[in-house]
């Protein structure tokens, strides 16, 4: 496929996303959450898909960003926008710092130990937050009301989250196309080999987690304000929901690809919203069945499945150099 076509498609999608608030104004918040889901899946895939470190604890950065922002908004006494701006910055900074500190320790764990440690981390964060009075403990925190007119709030957060999604996507695309992407892929395929080749694996791994934490932190700050009420276990550190959905969405779309998480998040979110509307009370049962179906029948995800069916379309072809190539066994 020529590069112009893919560029056209991207532009088309962005235009569609920009126009959506006017096409379906009633669905702004729902689509805003689609952007959040896409960010979830994309940022999880940095470690889970591209680097082979399955994290169940990424939701920690989301929660930390959310609380960080809410505390700034509560305690600085600034106006709404400056406080939100500062809060988002602080939330992201906090999340990145945490990722750097935790990463240097936890990322030394391999395989399932990492997955389990991050699982523990996610739960521990939620439990600590619900015991800490400074951030409202179990009572949670209420973020300030948006100052604008009815409906402005939805548009504001819609575009904020859309912008975040687009930035996340392009930053990741850029990173994946460079040395960073190659290095974390190498770590995924064979970390011992990567070390034997002198790659600074800890540096790459921690950087990867920090990138993930940055976007999750900013998103958390925004989502805290979008939802308006921060509950430690069910909103901020919602491991059994958000934390697991991240993983599912990335796997559903095809982990280790750029478009896979986007695709997976879209399918998952739409399916979920439909279940919610039409299967009152039974939606979680349906969700459980969907998860089972995904992992049993599409363990490689939608893109992985496509890749397996049409490998030649993904550029895995034998090519001769114009000059003579030496054959090998």
């Amino acid at each position: 496929m020529p590069p112009t076509a893919s560029r056209l498609l991207l532009i088309g999608l962005v235009v569609l996303a920009l126009a959506a608030p006017w096409l379906a104004p009633a669905y702004r918040t729902q689509i805003s959450f689609l952007w959040v889901m896409i960010i979830f899946a994309l940022t999880w895939d940095i470690l889970g898909g591209q680097m082979g470190y399955n994290s169940f604890g990424n939701v920690v950065f989301f929660g930390v960003g959310m609380y960080g922002c809410a505390v700034i908004q509560r305690d600085t006494g600034l106006d709404y926008y400056p406080a939100l701006c500062l809060g988002m910055t602080a939330g992201a900074a906090l999340a990145v710092t945490l990722a750097a500190v935790l990463g240097s320790g936890l990322l030394g764990l391999r395989g399932h130990y990492f997955a389990i440690a991050t699982l523990g981390l996610g739960f521990a964060a939620g439990e600590f937050a619900s015991g800490w009075d400074f951030i409202g403990a179990g009572s949670g925190m209420v973020t300030p009301l948006y100052p604008g007119e009815v409906g402005d709030r939805e548009s504001f957060f819609y575009f904020l989250l859309l912008a975040l999604t687009v930035v996340t996507f392009f930053v990741l695309r850029r990173l994946y196309s460079g040395r960073f992407g190659l290095a974390i892929n190498a770590i995924r395929d064979d970390e011992d080999k990567a070390e034997a080749m002198g790659i600074r694996t800890t540096l790459y791994k921690t950087t990867a987690w920090c990138v993930s934490a940055f976007f999750l932190g900013v998103t958390g700050a925004a989502v805290g304000n979008l939802i308006g009420f921060i509950d430690p276990r069910d909103v901020a550190f919602a491991g059994p929901t958000f934390g697991v959905w991240m993983v599912l969405m990335a796997i559903l779309g095809g982990k280790g690809t750029l478009w896979g998480p986007v695709l997976g998040a879209t399918v998952f979110h739409i399916t979920q919203e439909l279940f919610w509307t039409y299967l009152l009370g039974w939606q979680r049962v349906a969700l459980g069945l969907v998860i089972l179906a995904i992992v049993l029948f599409f363990p490689l995800g939608i893109l992985g499945w496509a890749r397996e069916r049409w490998p030649e379309r993904f550029g895995h072809a034998v090519e001769e150099r114009p000059a003579t190539g030496e054959g090998a066994s």
């Binding site: 040395r179 070390e195 080749m197």
Partner: protein, 247 residues
């Protein structure tokens, strides 16, 4: 000729089993040195001890005059001491070209440079080296789809991409189609001469190692059994006994 690698009285045990006992050897810069010995004689363990895969129980390992026995694998690799694996290890889900591109020297990589795109020079170098090992045509295939022999060649190419000063090769000809062994030996010599990379080679194929190496060490039961030029080793009765299993 100053030695680039000095191994002195290195000892390594696993549980109660002594894998390396008091091994002392040195590899002069710019040479090709062989390491032979029957199965289970501790060759691969010695390689692992040198490049930092495990803690050694005693002795010292110096590379380029500096002690490296306390360092971990990646730092030793960044100093220019690299090894390949007996069971080849490549990045299976990446293309051959990507395998090469990520194998560039990591010495000068900083936090900022890891976020950049690989320069075009890397790519042309990678393609040249792929051509050198004979995999240019397969450069867009996933490395995991190559045959064992091809993977071995790819791993060799990746090691060269890393511009090491010294390369530890663990059985480079094992699993390679016999008709291609001569080509490989030719390449190894070229690497040694043209790129000035010191080679330290574990090899089972006697004819290969005898014609390739300038000096050979032989291990048996975790101890250094004999050393000398190929003709000396070939004539050494202890080496012959060890290989025939006569004790």
């Amino acid at each position: 000729m100053k030695p680039i690698l000095e191994v002195e009285r290195v000892r390594k045990t696993f549980g109660g089993v002594v894998a390396n006992n008091d091994i002392t050897l040195e590899v002069p810069e710019g040479k090709i040195v062989g390491l032979i010995g029957p199965n289970g004689s501790g060759k691969t363990t010695l390689f692992n001890s040198i490049v930092g895969y495990h803690v050694i129980d005693g002795g010292s390992v110096r590379f380029d005059g500096r002690e490296i026995s306390e360092l971990r694998v990646p730092r030793i690799a960044r100093r220019g001491l690299l090894r390949t694996f007996q069971q080849t290890r490549i990045y299976g889900k990446m293309t051959c070209l990507e395998n090469m591109l990520i194998s560039v020297p990591q010495r000068d990589q900083t936090w900022l440079s890891i976020l950049r795109k690989p320069p075009a020079a890397d790519e042309s170098k990678a393609e040249d080296l792929l051509e050198f090992v004979g995999l240019y045509a397969k450069r867009r295939l996933l490395a995991g789809e190559l045959s064992f022999g091809q993977q071995k060649l790819l791993e060799f190419g990746m090691a060269l991409m890393n511009e090491p000063r010294m390369l530890l090769l663990d059985e480079p000809t094992a699993g390679i189609n016999p008709t291609l062994i001569n080509g490989l030996m030719h390449r190894l010599r070229r690497v040694n001469e043209e790129l000035a990379i010191t080679l330290f080679v574990i090899e089972h194929n006697m004819s290969v190692i005898m014609s390739l190496a300038e000096y050979i060490y032989c291990l048996a039961h975790g101890e250094l059994l004999a050393q000398g030029r190929p003709d000396e080793i070939q004539a050494d009765q202890r080496v012959i006994d060890a290989y025939l299993g006569a004790h």
